[in-house]
Symmetry: C2
Subunit: 428 residues, 2 copies
């Protein structure tokens, strides 16, 4: 197809007119489709229904050490759940605390604890004049929501397919003591699906932070969420790497089974150093007597071990891979060569990131909405919801049925073309 | 039996010698019994095992409004769980947020939110020089643990069988703006099993706090936890009463099913005014996408409604009532008339409170420990673990099997007599 940028004004006007007609046909279809959130679809949830039988009324409710999982106690989680989550996170069970159903909650509580009580004896952040976080962009809106809520100043750092711009990260972290953290989704990143390169992870581990209580918030949300059996991304394990670099305490790692079993009732975990664990448990013991051990046991009995979990993930991939491919095919078919947008082709995770022409993202999302297709708000992938280029849009292909998704993706390309043509016409 | 206080020195010496011999017989038994925590016993946990079958792999996982409980969403809980917990708490479902497995966690988060962000637009407590809480004593150690952790100054207020000393509460709350809260276990209180009188509740509702952000932390942990069918305690519903008194926002009410289904994996809730709910949800939306809805659904399907829950509680009572009665019988048989201790005889809840002679509690707990019976630490029922009289001991009869409990309770009376005789001999 001919690039919009090479079209004459007349050609562009003709294209715009044709697109407008096509857009109106979609509007007339009275659609109600949603590509906004990274939610598993029904078929994915059904994969874990056998888990509901693993603990029936006849079940032995005791874990391996004899503890009755129904009763109070075990602040940091049952051992076999630590083994399972540890294997999933590539960490020793000794470095794990198992939490409740939401890793977001763990991240919130981790920031809240630093805010109210400080990290390992350092000044609580609420007593400081200024606290800052680095935020690789585009990134995950709920991360930015936590830091914004605590009044933490967020500094965007650009992402590339290798990870965050480490020159900038190193410079800022080593010179500004008020920078206390960085949000990372290191594997199949939200929203691009990028995986940090070996060099990026090593540079993270070798950071020389000005702040003693600087921590990497390493949200490995998609660690085993591959789309393909044959080409999978790998990442260097950050805890080990930090330990080797002499910074064993510099990272908090988060993960959950939300997109493995059930988003509403999975189990979550933190993996971190012994020192950090002691620091965390000193707070956690005031907050709860223990998280839901029955659900921990249910997960362990269902998967058996990490190999069982890996097999389970292949079934997820079979369901959602065709959805990613459908979106990618439709984007390629309708947008290739037009010079009006770029998109990522991830090997895993839950999202495709789309970059439109500057100043077009909000308008595209709005046009899609008016035709019945909900997308993540433009700007959501940036701190304070402010994308300076107004160009990034997050596409979430997993939830809608495939046929709906194809319609939504096609409509999306119509909106991209429509809004881009309109912009270029104005500028012509 | 003859009062120790009326015994001659010789009689007391003889008694002491006999007790020492008896104590040594217990020591030789190599006991390992625990009366320290309010934990349900195995038979109680077994009562809820049929709940594990309510959501099997064939189950409809959607709640009444069609929401798939396995997926993300529903920040404040599914409607039918709000109805169930609302009925249990005697509040409208519209005043309820359902949380995870721990009401302690809800209380912690409530204090933490006030500390980091303030209540309904008031100054965050972390920005104030001084924050104080009133703590009815004896009371619940984990309540005091939360406020101590946040550096909140705790002021003890004496309990009577009618509830906290309301003259003191009214005077302090109305004159000291730094008093931001009071911990209450209004029904079958921890540890006495007292239930606040109608007059006490009304006086609570009519408090005129100096602080705009003063809140009553109303932990109705034992609202339906009766020991008897025929003589149950009743309490005036505090939210309604506060509303009538023109202070609709003055109370946070907490409850859970921890001692109804499983302590490790029940559901918990807060009940409060519309204004407070808005305030809470404004924070909660940053902390989580939603709590475990599958477990909410499981509870609803198991109980059906509040009547089902009440029937279930009668089965609990049948298991633990004999335990309370056994302890009370042993205390009566071995201690009546000796003038060395008083204890409560609750109609519900999880504890019996024992008041020893001044200066004896720590020693009694220590002697019991040395003979293999673990009790709650003396002092635990007071802020900062400091019982000024060193006299209060919390007895938790529910967890040990009945025969073990009888041995432990008898040994306890031996320790009480031994330590009391020793004290009186020293003073003689």
């Amino acid at each position: 197809m001919k690039s919009y940028k090479e079209m004459s004004k007349e050609e562009l006007q003709q294209e715009y007119k044709a697109l407008l007609a096509e857009y109106k046909r979609y509007q007339a279809m009275d659609l109600n489709l949603n590509m906004s959130r990274g939610k598993p679809c029904r078929e994915q949830l059904d994969l874990s229904m056998p888990m509901m039988d693993t603990l029936n009324s006849d079940a032995d409710m005791c874990c391996e050490d004899g503890t009755d999982c129904r009763n109070y106690g075990v602040l940091d989680g049952i051992h076999e759940a630590k083994v399972l989550m540890g294997d999933m996170m590539e960490n020793s069970p000794d470095n794990i605390i198992i939490y409740g159903n939401s890793s977001l909650n763990v991240m919130y509580d981790t920031v809240a604890r630093a805010y109210t009580h400080g990290i390992m004896g350092n000044t609580p952040w609420c007593k400081l004049d200024k606290v800052k976080f680095l935020c690789p962009v585009p990134g995950y809106d709920r991360h930015f929501g936590i830091t914004e809520y605590f009044g933490i100043e967020m500094i965007p750092v650009m992402m590339s397919p290798e990870g965050p711009d480490m020159d900038t990260v190193e410079k800022l972290v080593s010179t500004d003591e008020s920078i206390k953290g960085i949000w990372c989704v290191p594997k199949y990143s939200n929203p691009q699906g990028y995986t940090y390169s070996d060099e990026t992870v090593r540079r993270f581990a070798r950071l020389q932070p000005a702040a003693k209580d600087f921590r990497i918030f390493w949200d490995n949300a998609y660690g085993i969420h591959h789309l393909y059996n044959d080409h999978q991304d790998y990442i260097i394990e950050i805890l080990h790497e930090c330990k080797k670099a002499g910074h064993p305490d510099m990272v908090y790692k988060f993960a959950s089974t939300s997109k493995i079993t059930f988003p509403g009732s999975g189990i979550s975990a933190i993996a971190t150093s012994e020192n950090n664990l002691v620091d965390i448990k000193n707070q956690l013991k005031h907050q709860t007597i223990g998280h839901d051990k029955v659900n921990q046991l249910r997960h362990v009995r269902f998967f058996g071990d990490i190999n069982g979990m890996e097999d389970h993930m292949k079934k997820h991939a079979e369901i959602i891979r065709p959805k990613f491919e459908a979106v990618e095919d439709i984007f390629a078919e309708n947008l290739t060569g037009l010079d009006i947008g770029e998109w990522t082709k991830p090997n895993g995770g839950y999202f495709i990131s789309f970059d439109a022409l500057e100043g077009c993202a909000k308008k595209i999302v709005e046009e899609a909405r008016k035709a019945g297709v909900t997308l993540t708000d433009a700007g959501a992938t940036w701190p304070y919801h402010k994308d300076p280029n107004d160009s990034n849009i997050r596409i979430a292909p997993t939830y809608p049925p495939l046929e709906d998704l194809k319609i939504a993706a096609t409509l999306f390309t119509v909106c991209v073309r429509l809004v881009s043509a309109e912009k270029l016409l104005k500028e012509a």
